[in-house]
């Protein structure tokens, strides 16, 4: 079972798939938070959706949900169940909330729904073999959650049978959006979730507000996000005040003699700089991961103090197997290599890709602990582990 859920992780891992940049609105500090107008307040960091509340419904707009999309906005009208639908609105754009029955195509969606305590609404997932959340695994094993397959292998009949209120999908391009068209034709509502396109760590987490709107628990979602955001800002400030050096960071792993380099405007690059580090390709700006010659990367990597996210390597030997020359990098010989593979369960699912999106403050803490010894105890690492 190949599982498209993991496409998102791979986008994040900046190894191969393109990233879309988006200008992050509201990079301001916490004090600006309260002065922003109502619309921005709902969507302060996330740039790919807006929520507008009316008297009778909430208008949700998903903005260009795939890389390079223009004019592909999706508009939804979230109407409290039991109330009358707004006039002059296409019924196919109406979702009655709270939703009771959803199918999720990405693990990040699952984490956010779980965080709101609405696991029971999840009826279908893509790639059940890669669930991390024990509660969801239990529900899958008990048969409450079905595996709907992936992309071209999507079990459309099963989905019809589940007749979900909503499929939370994602799309990496208009072409791959095609596999959902058939479902739309059959009257199933397919909402594109573009959290993976957010390059701001808080912007990604802020998508929980969208779930808050879908489950009619806006306040819980808002307060969860506020806690995350406050903790993130608090940590960032603490790191800034208590560190004076910025260790150089190398990311990724080559494939044959090409090294796909995450651009400086990516999600992980932002996390590194907020954690008081200097990503070696911080200055680069690109909408896609950039293929670079290994010779070039090697020269720059000689200055790396820390090596993060070396593909999926979980041991130094695996890095050597990929390319033995990497073993002579100073960060390798010093053993300063960490990967986000601490929370992998027996099924091979990595919680980094499931709950990591919702926990940028924890990721920030992990990365800061790795880069600034003594600042935060390394034994408390949540998602990261040292590669031995």
């Amino acid at each position: 079972m190949i599982h498209c859920r993991l496409i998102i992780p791979w986008v994040l891992s900046h190894i191969l798939i393109s990233l879309l940049l988006n200008a992050c609105s509201g990079r301001g500090s916490g004090s600006e938070y309260d002065t922003l107008n109502e619309k921005q307040k709902h969507s302060q960091r996330a740039s790919r959706f807006t929520l507008e509340e009316n008297d009778s419904f909430t208008r949700l707009t998903i903005i260009n949900p795939w890389q390079g999309a223009t004019g592909a906005d999706q508009v939804w009208h979230l109407v409290p169940s039991g109330s009358f639908p707004p006039e002059n609105v296409d019924p196919s754009e109406i979702i009655y909330v709270p939703v009771k029955n959803v199918v999720c195509m990405s693990s990040t969606h699952l984490a956010m729904i779980s965080a709101l305590g609405e696991e029971e609404s999840i009826k279908g997932v893509s790639g059940a073999g890669f669930l991390y959340n024990p509660e969801l695994i239990k529900r899958y094993e008990q048969g409450f959650i079905k595996d709907v397959g992936y992309e071209d292998n999507l079990n459309k009949e099963l989905i019809l049978d589940l007749s979900p209120d909503l499929i939370m999908a994602y799309s990496i391009g208009s072409e791959s959006a095609a596999y959902m068209t058939k479902l739309k034709e059959l009257g199933i509502k397919v909402m594109y979730n573009a959290d993976y396109l957010e390059s701001d760590p808080l912007g990604k987490a802020e998508w929980i507000k969208l779930f808050g709107a879908l489950y009619c628990c806006r306040e819980r979602a808002d307060s969860l996000f506020r806690e995350i955001s406050d903790e993130y800002h608090r940590l960032k400030k603490y790191i800034l005040e208590n560190t004076d050096s910025k260790p150089n960071v190398l990311l990724g792993l080559p494939f044959r003699d090409t090294w796909y380099i995450s651009p400086g405007n990516s999600y992980i690059s932002k996390l590194i700089s907020d954690a008081g580090g200097n990503y070696l390709w911080n200055e680069t700006y690109s909408s896609v991961s950039m293929p670079m010659g290994i010779e070039n990367v090697y020269i720059k990597a000689l200055n790396a103090d820390i090596w993060l996210n070396p593909g999926s390597a979980s041991a130094k030997d695996e890095i050597i197997a990929v390319d033995p020359r990497l073993a002579s990098l100073p960060c390798f010989t010093r053993g300063s290599i960490y990967n986000n593979t601490k929370r992998i369960n027996g099924r091979g699912a990595n919680d980094y890709w499931e709950s990591g999106t919702l926990n940028p403050h924890v990721l920030l803490r992990d990365i800061a602990a790795i880069m600034h010894p003594g600042l935060i105890a390394k034994k408390d690492l949540v998602y990261y582990r040292k590669i031995e």
Partner: protein, 351 residues
């Protein structure tokens, strides 16, 4: 009779000049490949690294990155071209090349099984275990299986053209299987596979380089041993048989040699296109002969030169990026071949 002798002497001294010139060119390109890379290093530093010793990182770049890559490039250029030459002669077909019998398709299938195939049960994380050897082994098994199948068929079939047709069919069939695997595969895996098909010279570990060199030497010796057979085959299979050539044995030897060379290169570097078809033509045109006693040593120089030049270009000196070498061999080489062919209407007579 006298004029013929004169001609032979003339072409003999011409060949010496040509060999000399090409040798210098190949050596220059080999050195250039050490000097030019995606990282700008002063030539003086490269020289110091080679002769006296320089900073550690310069030495690493020169000895661990550029030197193995240059040696690989030269070896790949030679082996694929030799393999192509033998195939063209064996099939009496200018379109033949090392991959015409599906060797690269077989290798691709092996690699596809590793990268795309087993993803049914494992996560994309599996790329992690994809050390160098697993891909090499898979490619070799794939190429080897096709090779054995084709040798079996060619020993049973009388007409060499039938072998060629079956080879092309087989390659098409294997590609279809790979397409199906691509269709169902995860995007990341797909990209990894595509990168493999683009070829790369710079990823061989020193032990792999040793294996490549040993295999190339073995295949080349086999090739040298078949010079007489190849020259006989040039005159047509019937004639070759009439002068005592064991046709089946010749086919087996030539096929084994070429497949071994092409399979090994593909296993280590991915399918490198164009070289195997084009370099034999370029070499024939340079030396204006179809005599394998001249062409084979000639190919050592032309094949390595073309491949080294392609590698230098693929490094895009002065930029951070590199191009897939496979694209460079095609983009650089094809215009050369077309130009050469357009300017040489009598080329057909060399074939």
């Amino acid at each position: 009779m006298k004029t013929v002798n004169n001609n032979q002497q003339l072409s003999g001294s011409n060949n010496v000049l040509l060999f000399g010139g090409l040798l210098v060119l190949a050596l220059l390109l080999f050195m250039a490949d050490l000097f030019i890379g995606s990282v700008a290093i002063r030539p003086s530093d490269v020289l110091r690294a080679i002769f006296t010793g320089a900073e550690a990182h310069v030495e690493t770049i020169v000895f661990k990155f550029r030197l193995p890559k240059a040696i690989t490039a030269a070896t790949v250029g030679i082996t694929l071209s030799l393999s192509g030459l033998q195939m063209q002669t064996l099939f009496r077909n200018p379109m033949a090349g090392p991959y015409v019998l599906g060797i690269s398709s077989g290798a691709s299938l092996g690699v596809a099984f590793i990268i795309l195939g087993f993803s049914a049960n494992i996560s994309p994380d599996t790329i992690k275990g994809m050390g160098n050897w697993s891909l090499v082994a898979a490619a070799w098994v794939g190429a080897g299986s096709v090779m054995i199948l084709m040798m079996y068929l060619s020993s049973r079939l009388k007409d060499i053209l039938t072998v060629l047709i079956i080879g092309i069919m087989l390659a098409g069939g294997i590609s279809a299987i790979v397409s199906i695997m691509q269709y169902f595969s995860h995007e990341t895996m797909l990209k990894a596979y595509i990168i493999w098909t683009m070829g790369s010279l710079g990823n061989l570990t020193s032990s792999q380089l040793n294996v490549l060199l040993l295999s190339a030497a073995g295949g080349t010796i086999l090739c040298l041993a078949s010079v007489k057979m190849l020259n006989a085959l040039l005159l047509g299979e019937n004639y070759a048989v009439s002068i005592g050539l064991n046709l089946r044995l010749a086919r087996i030897i030539v096929l084994a040699g070429t497949s071994f060379l092409a399979g090994t290169v593909t296993a280590f570097c991915g399918p490198i296109g164009f070289i195997g078809i084009a370099v034999p033509h370029i070499t024939r045109l340079i030396f204006r002969t179809s005599d394998h006693r001249v062409l084979i040593p000639g190919i050592f120089l032309t094949g390595s030169s073309v491949m080294l030049a392609s590698d230098i270009i693929s490094q895009l000196p002065g930029s951070d990026n590199v191009l897939p070498v496979n694209s460079v061999t095609a983009l650089v080489g094809i215009p050369v071949v077309i130009w050469v062919l357009l300017g040489n209407r009598k080329y057909r007579s060399l074939f």
